[in-house]
Amino acid sequence: MVEAEVLEERIRAGLGVVSHLVVKDLTGTKDHWEALVVAPAFVGKTPIEQHQMVYAALGELMAGPVHALALKTYSPESWAKQEG
C-alpha cells in the first residue's frame, strides 16, 4: 500500500517538470493504480522509455507496495493532440 501523494511526489521528483499528473486508485486498496503523466521529459522518447522513466522514478515502490500500475504517458504536444 502507498498513498497517492507519495506516488505523485516521486513522479514529479523523478521527471522534473510535470505538466499534468493524475493518479487514480483503481480498487480503493491503494495498491492498484493508474497514472496519467504529461511531461516535457518524454519528448523524443519511445513509449517503452517513457514508462521506464516513470518506473525508475517510483523505484522500490514497484517492487511491493504497488502491485499494479496502468500507465498513460504523453509529451505535452501529444497530450494536446489527444485532448484536441
Partner: protein
C-alpha cells in the same frame, strides 16, 4: 540476476518468434493485465509462446531486470522487448500491433 537465469531468458526469447511472459497461461491467465495481452494477441491473429512466471520464481524476478521493466506481462518479438500491457493495448488500438508482430527481420 545470475547468468543461468539470464541465459535461460535469452534462450527463450531467441528460440520463439513471439513470447509473452505472463501470470498464468494463455489458456488460463491469472491476472487481468496478462489476460488483456493474450486477448489482443489472439485478435491480431498471432500465435505465441506463453511463459508462466508464477511457475518459475527465478524467471519471474529475472525478467524484470532483463528488460529493466518491473511489471509483468512482457512481450518479446524476435528477441526484442515490445512492451507491457498498456503499450501493447495502445499498439492494438492504433492498429499497429499486427505490423509489429509480422514485420520481417531486418
Amino acid at each position: 540476476m545470475d547468468d543461468t537465469v539470464r541465459d535461460r531468458i535469452k534462450s527463450i526469447i531467441e528460440s520463439n518468434e513471439v513470447v509473452l511472459f505472463m501470470k498464468g497461461t494463455k489458456h488460463f491467465p491469472q491476472c487481468g493485465f496478462s489476460a488483456t495481452v493474450v486477448e489482443v494477441l489472439r485478435r491480431s491473429g498471432s500465435d505465441f509462446q506463453d511463459v508462466n512466471v508464477l511457475e518459475d520464481p527465478a524467471i519471474r524476478q529475472g525478467i524484470k531486470e532483463f528488460a529493466n521493466w518491473p511489471t509483468i506481462p512482457q512481450l518479446y518479438v524476435r528477441g526484442k522487448f515490445v512492451g507491457g500491457c498498456d503499450i501493447i493495448r495502445d499498439l492494438y488500438e492504433k492498429g499497429e500491433l499486427e505490423a509489429v508482430l509480422s514485420a520481417t527481420q531486418d
